[in-house]
């Protein structure tokens, strides 16, 4: 079975075996060269593994883009305290569905990455924290973990190296905020998934109060390739600041939505129009959110940029998780933003006053505008509420909730005014 919407211009390092059922089981994976990176890593000093990941320039794919090797180097090296690796598989950012595919088609790619990372940071126990709704994926992962134990890639004395590691798949109960790394750690410990105040950072005090490295699924899945082939090989793709390839989950008003893996110096415009085929027949694109709902929307005129971290930032948004949401001219921007903010109101853990109250207030104002009861002063009000919510809370969810509001007002104020002044909508249905 071919994976839907493959495109010849893709660079399929991570997604090479997507659609190949045979690659899911451990034999198929080993046939395809699986676990050779692990063998190589176990024969290398831990710090050298960290160094190669540092040199590769691999950046975190969970949203923040923090250099993975640097993060690993914060872990204590004395081995005095128990320490952990947590693979963040909570994937809940609206518009993002790449980790799901990585785990579904190549569970061993992810597991191998986790084992190498755990070895490098000297962790004794690793967790895959996966969102509870991924029932089928949990089954796949659990099966793969059993296989890895059976073949001696997990457990005591892995491949005779003297290194021991256990791996547990832990399901969440369906909360976006459990994807925030410290919310994840609290949830893992059996507490409410409420983000913690930082510092201390997870590398100092993480799961169960012990040093912990949290990495995204895609970050960890990239690791075996880097360890096996070297940093220079990985740097053949992308830019100086954004090396490698990345999966983009493309959804919305596109002819061929799906996951596409491209080098990070690829053109955003070509990704949208060539790979995804642009908007449906007879429609025009209004805008694109390039990195999940937490990043500012770009208008069609702003798409002429590289998909690198710095390229999208220069265009006025962020790469984020790589969840690309395209909206064509049938979209009511007020409604779309209201729906996104509603999501944040529903998902706010509620610790911080600005986030708890602000997300629900924004929702109510937007609902009012959407149904034609808006006032002109609602526009400056939305912006001011948004600014009171930004930069004032424990985690960035509050900022994220304000982002679609502020960026859509900046770029699509006419749509708001049409609702407010004439009770009409500019969407072409």
């Amino acid at each position: 079975m071919a994976y839907p919407y493959e495109h010849p211009r893709e660079e399929r390092m991570l997604s090479r075996y997507f659609g190949e059922v045979d690659a899911i089981g451990i034999d198929g994976w080993i046939e395809r060269g699986g676990y050779t990176a692990l063998e190589k890593a176990l024969g290398t000093a831990q710090d050298d593994v960290i160094q190669v990941v540092k040199d590769s320039g691999l950046r975190g794919r969970g949203g923040a883009g923090f250099p993975a090797g640097l993060k690993w180097s914060f872990m204590p090296k004395d081995g005095k305290a128990p320490s952990y690796v947590a693979c963040n598989a909570d994937e809940s950012e609206p518009g993002t569905f790449k980790d799901r595919e990585l785990m579904r088609w190549t569970p061993h790619q992810v597991i191998e990455g986790i084992i190498i990372a755990s070895y490098a940071v000297r962790a004794q126990h690793a967790y895959i924290y996966i969102r509870g709704e991924f029932v089928d994926i949990v089954r796949v992962l659990n099966g793969a973990v059993v296989e890895a134990y059976e073949r001696g890639y997990l457990g005591m004395n892995i491949l005779g190296s003297g290194y021991d590691l256990d791996l547990t798949v832990h399901t969440g109960a369906g909360a976006y905020i459990a994807g925030e790394e410290t919310g994840l750690l609290n949830s893992l410990e059996g507490r409410r998934a409420e983000p913690r105040v930082k510092p201390p950072f997870p590398a100092q005090k993480g799961a169960f109060g012990m040093p912990t490295t949290v990495n995204n699924v895609e970050t960890l899945a990239s690791v075996p390739h880097i360890v096996l082939n070297g940093a220079d090989w990985y740097r053949q793709w992308g830019t100086e600041k954004s090396p490698g390839t990345k999966l983009f989950s493309c959804c919305g008003h596109l002819q061929r939505p799906g996951n596409y893996e491209v080098p990070l110096d690829f053109s955003l415009k070509e990704l949208v129009y060539d790979l995804c085929g642009g908007p449906p027949e007879g429609r025009e694109l209004l805008g694109v959110i390039p990195g999940g709902s937490s990043v500012p929307i770009l208008t069609v005129d702003e798409l002429d940029c590289e998909v690198s971290y710095e390229g999208i930032e220069a265009a006025g948004s962020f790469l984020g998780s790589g969840g690309l949401i395209a909206m064509d001219d049938s979209t009511c921007m007020v409604r779309a933003v209201r729906r996104m903010v509603e999501f944040y109101a529903h998902e706010s853990c509620g610790q911080c006053t600005p986030c708890r109250e602000g997300t629900s207030w924004l929702t109510k104002i937007l609902r009012r505008i959407e149904r034609g009861d808006g006032r002109e002063e609602d526009i400056p009000l939305l912006l001011d509420v948004g600014s009171n919510m930004a930069g004032s809370t424990i985690c960035p969810l509050s900022d994220s909730a304000a982002v679609p509001v502020v960026s859509s007002i900046q770029k699509f104020e006419d749509e708001y005014m049409a609702h407010i002044r004439d009770g009409s909508c500019t969407a072409k249905r």
């Binding site: 909360a175 853990c349 600005p354 986030c355 629900s360 004032s392």
Partner: protein
């Protein structure tokens, strides 16, 4: 201050300050007298930094910082009252008021509410929200405590008290985000011997004590520094009084005794205290009848009766009486020939506050058993047995004598009753000297570990009631036992001269947080 720790120099609102490494901005500012607004932070609880009320500007930092957890750094320049910090605070207050009912006129917390205070301070009079407020209900969380969900600002202080201090994590935030509220997981009422502290820590009027509900406005209360008489722990408290009645007790911070906490038993005790017939005027027996007398006559009669009496003196005292009162009775007994004094203590199960184990509701449900012992009184089970065949003078101080036998005091040559409540057995006395309750006078108690603590007068005593250290010292003077005392402090000074358990102490030294005498301390370490 730990002499080992490094000092950090920083500037807050233009003033330089040096504080030990690890100090938070909030604490450093307090040193300069700058109180940074806060809700979730409480000095006795962990700091979740979640209300975001304490945000301040740190020059050169991209975002405002929560002062309650952000530690000071060398050279930091902090502004607590600049445009940025003010905007952040106004924002938080506006968010909190979005769905707050603002029913201050009927809210128990009005006048002592941090939301009211800071809302006034940020001066927002105009509401920008046109949306209807969310209306939630109210519910009991314990049989005595009611939760007003609308008023709750979800600071989680109550949750953290139960989790960290009571160490019975029964309260939770239920639901998430703007749908959150406080309740027990099972939606059932909980009971805990220290539950009422959740009312104290609540910065608004969301948790209220039903016993106090609608009884008084907090600004109408007078506050008096006192000691809880409920057990031998001696929690430092503030009496809230109105119209000459104690309407509530709140813990008063003392790190050595009770921190910020106190138990529920103590609060109930005091508020219920004073039921029963008060002794208001001196009574003197004349021709088989007790007749009211003024103090001059009563003291004359007492001096007269004690002069030349035979058979020595015994006493039954109450371990809730002050050291000063116990001391004077002891002196009066000495004057006639001390033949032993005794007391009994009612008891109940000990309840330790797990998160601050220095504090326990002690088995001894009386404030001054240690003081009574130090002054030479003996603890007995049967107070009546000790005086059964006594032929001399019998003093009774404050003991209620509820269960006295028929023939109580029948054989005594003279029975003097000193107390605030007049029980049937007390009416058998030859002389009754009315005295104030602990809330109506100054004095000291000695707690279970020998700590001497002062309480001060919060109420007017009824009628002619007068402390025994005062009236008794006049009697003593007339019997040749020194000068009358003009204050409780003077009475204490005299007793400290005489009894080693108090040596070196004075009212000044004891202050409002108590002290242990050097002698008692070395005795304690030796044993």
């Amino acid at each position: 201050m730990d002499s080992e720790s490094k000092l950090i120099n920083l500037t807050i609102d233009g003033t330089e300050v040096s504080v030990p490494e690890g100090t938070t901005i909030l604490k450093a500012a307090e040193r300069l007298g700058i109180v940074i607004p806060r809700y979730c932070w409480h000095p006795g609880l962990s700091a979740p930094a979640q209300c975001r009320m304490c945000l301040v500007e740190v020059e050169g930092w991209p975002k405002p910082q929560p002062a309650c957890v952000q530690q000071v750094q060398d050279g930091m320049v902090v502004n607590t009252d600049c445009v940025e910090a003010r905007k952040a605070r106004r924002g938080v207050i506006e968010f909190l008021l979005l769905n707050h009912p603002l029913d201050c006129p009927i809210c128990d917390a009005a006048g002592q509410c941090m939301l009211q205070d800071y809302a006034h301070e940020t001066g927002q009079l105009r509401r920008r929200a046109v949306e209807a407020k969310v209306v939630l209900g109210r519910d009991h969380v314990t049989p005595e405590i009611v939760y007003f969900a609308d008023r709750c600002i979800l600071c989680t202080r109550c949750v953290r008290f139960m989790d960290e201090i009571a160490q019975e994590p029964v309260l939770q935030v239920i639901n998430r985000g703007h749908k959150g509220y406080i309740d027990t997981m099972t939606d059932e009422l909980f009971e805990h011997p220290f539950s009422m502290n959740i009312v104290d820590v609540c910065p608004v009027g969301a948790l209220v004590n039903e016993d106090f509900l609608f009884k008084a406005r907090s600004w109408d209360l007078d506050q008096t520094a006192s000691i809880c008489p409920g057990c031998s722990q001696g929690c430092n408290v503030a009496l809230g009084t109105k119209e000459n009645r104690v309407v509530r007790l709140k813990p008063r911070f003392n790190p050595e005794v009770n921190s910020y906490w106190m138990c529920d038993h103590g609060r109930r005790e005091v508020v219920r205290w004073g039921a029963g017939m008060r002794a208001e005027v001196p009574l003197v027996r004349e021709a088989e009848r007790l007749v009211p007398a003024d103090w001059a006559r009563a003291l004359d009669a007492t001096v007269e009766a004690l002069r030349g009496v035979e058979g020595g003196a015994k006493a039954i005292v109450d371990p809730g009486a002050s050291n000063e009162s116990l001391y004077i009775v002891r002196r009066l007994m000495d004057q006639v020939g001390f033949d032993g004094g005794s007391f009994r203590v009612s008891s109940g199960p000990q309840q330790v506050l797990k998160g601050f184990p220095k504090l326990a509701l002690r088995e001894d449900r009386a404030a001054n058993a240690s003081g009574a012992e130090a002054l030479g009184y003996g603890r007995v089970d049967d107070i009546y047995g000790a005086v059964r065949s006594h032929r001399g003078v019998l003093f009774v101080l404050e003991e209620g004598l509820d269960d006295a036998p028929e023939d109580f005091a029948d054989g005594s040559a003279l029975f003097v009753y000193i107390g605030s409540v007049l029980s049937p057995a007390a009416r058998k006395a030859d002389i009754v000297l009315p005295s104030p309750s602990f809330a109506e006078m100054d004095g000291t108690f000695t707690n279970f570990e020998g700590r001497v603590q002062r309480f001060t007068q919060g109420l007017r005593p009824p009628g002619l009631a007068r402390p025994i250290w005062m009236s008794g010292s006049v009697v003593l003077a007339r019997l040749g036992g020194g000068e009358p005392f003009t204050s409780a402090a003077a009475a204490f000074a005299a007793l400290a001269e005489e009894f080693t358990a108090f040596s070196g102490l004075s009212y000044e030294k004891i202050g409002l947080t108590g002290a242990v005498s050097a002698a008692a301390e070395s005795g304690a370490t030796a044993s």
